[in-house]
Symmetry: C2
Subunit: 363 residues, 2 copies
């Protein structure tokens, strides 16, 4: 099958670029002796998770127990649920999966530790527990080394789980340079304070899990980090290009759309909107919704649910009804999440049709 | 089953409110002799489309042929695809469905008319064709009465389809009053110019299809409109409240979430983010991502993919880990579209579990 035979909108992954992205980060993590545990929220496809393992990752990361279940059913045997589970039902899923797979979970509260411990006990399993610390993103994560130590000690007193170490998400580093208020040095001051408190207390920290795609190739600059959880590096996207984290040539995923209307002067309408791309915005002052590979002078200025509004007034190019365009999305994770299937292509040949099996597993 | 037994995030529809919304608009359209053809993009659930028919709608509207197929399989027999179909494959789906259902399609180009005609001919069916006109939203729709008339005449010369009338989407009226540059009077000037041109040419316009939820109860003010296609009125949402198109009491759908982290001072994190709510923003200057029913002083200030970031610094309320909150989404259509199933509830009882069957039918 060729891409010409696909209806649009269709999400196409350039396999050559994807494979290069996988190999390069695996090589970097090997060189720096970092454990690679990719976040599979970006693709939600077990086969791609297995590809990541084959190319050098030790395990994977997911956000929800439902995603963990899909990945375990797909043969993944080492899974971190990087999300606080605070209900019995969710902790029970983690414990059930721990029968066949190594499962660890991050959290920042006594409540989450207690729930996980009970589930682990009931299933006769020990689940790994990582204490999440806030290194400046101010989302989840305890606020001080004392609190982290207190949770680690609480974990040590519980059955059904095992304190595995610390995890953090440096989301504040995924901003444009002029919007950043802190850098890796600030994160390191925070991390080092934790290491000192734990050392003084005689508590070992086997794993320090950090990282994201924005800082993936600077992971060795983070003090004491021995594991990273980047997600987007497999595909990359427009916002990562804006951050300088990759180049346009590193972007493996585009959405192929068709021009459906040119009736309004200065506008071209394509058959993908917020239900195809998501409504995630571009970084920076001028907000647009994707980069059009065929014409950089045409701006993707607005989204309806099923219409993409292109402004052609600054371009010499005119578009024809029925013409196909390839658009680089702002944020690849939420774009893939809109689709039941995506396609792996090499040149014009469709080599793979992947079901996005963990899509919609919001619980 | 009660809602306490559901895991979160879970989309809950208050059946009493939904039924009131359905009855009220049906009553209004009866009073004004308007054909009601609800846009089912809001719910994508055949059972709810049938409920709309039972409560007085003549037919339904969809955006894509894939959605039309799901609705036809669900027993819907009068379907408008309010979207220009410009590929053979998509027109073929419309023509196939026309064997058992009345199908009409809107378009604004000769290309779309020709594609549809060929598909209709091949299937031995006549598909209804509506010419879309631009009344000020500047998305799709021809630019002048002359162009509309030209397309109507082109349609009259084709087999496999039948000119059914005009359709428009007055999206520019779905803005906050101080952002609006035009009103219904401007739309009416545009509509009237079309009616005159068609009358002078002796071409009848059986259907004039307009309307949206934002202007649903003002539909009788639109000159010559005899059909409306509102979608959101079944559930309503926060942005419609901001527009003054409904009240908070008319909002049938909330997302039930659980507090998963309170570790960061001034923040409460819930288990729904952009993959639960979509990243559609609120209208107006201060952008937030939903209204928290339990506390209007707490702001939903940011979204990660699976985390909702609540700012509690202006509230006296503090939230506990494990506590459940109910959040009114900004835009209900894109929220429902994130979910494989949603729940119909009365009080605390879950009466219905609906699969969102047309979700993901982007083609």
């Amino acid at each position: 099958m060729t891409i010409d035979e696909l209806e649009t909108p269709a999400v196409l992954v350039d396999l050559d670029v994807m494979e290069r992205n996988l190999a390069r980060l695996a090589s970097y993590t090997r060189k720096h002796s970092l454990t690679l545990r990719p976040h599979t929220k970006t693709h939600k496809i077990p086969e791609l998770a297995r590809r990541q393992i084959e190319s050098g990752a030790k395990g994977i990361t997911v956000a929800k127990p439902g995603e963990a279940r899909v990945m375990a059913e797909g043969g993944l045997r080492d899974i971190m649920i990087a999300y606080p589970l605070v209900t019995e039902a969710k902790a029970r899923v983690a414990a059930e999966l721990a029968r066949d797979s190594a499962i660890c979970v991050s959290m920042d509260s006594v409540e989450a530790l207690d729930v996980l411990s009970q589930a682990g006990l009931a299933a006769g399993r020990r689940i790994g527990a990582l204490v999440e610390i806030d290194v400046g993103f101010h989302r989840c994560g305890v606020d001080s080394p004392e609190q982290a130590l207190s949770l680690a000690r609480h974990a040590a007193g519980l059955s059904g789980l095992e304190f595995r170490g610390l995890m953090f998400y440096p989301g504040q580093l995924g901003k444009l340079p002029d919007e950043q208020t802190a850098g890796i040095a600030d994160v390191n001051r925070c991390l080092t304070a934790h290491y000192e408190a734990f050392q003084n207390a005689g508590v070992e920290i086997p794993v320090v899990s950090g990282g994201s795609t924005a800082t993936a190739y600077r992971s060795h600059e983070f003090a004491g980090v021995n594991e990273i959880r980047p997600g987007m590096y497999i595909f990359n996207d427009r916002n990562l290009v804006s951050l300088g984290a990759c180049s346009l040539e590193d972007c493996a995923l585009h959405v192929m759309v068709t021009v459906v209307s040119t009736a309004v002067p200065g506008r071209t309408i394509v058959d993908g909107g917020s239900k195809t791309f998501s409504s995630d915005r571009s970084k920076g002052e001028k907000v647009t919704y994707g980069l059009i590979r065929e014409d950089s002078q045409t701006d993707f200025i607005a989204l309806s649910e099923e219409h993409g509004h292109l402004d052609t007034t600054h371009s010499d190019r005119s578009f024809q009804i029925g013409e196909r365009l390839h658009i680089l999305p702002n944020h690849v994770c939420v774009t893939v999440n809109m689709h039941d299937q995506i396609y792996g292509v090499r040149g014009n040949t469709v080599e793979k049709v992947w079901q996005v099996k963990a899509r919609g597993k919001v619980q």
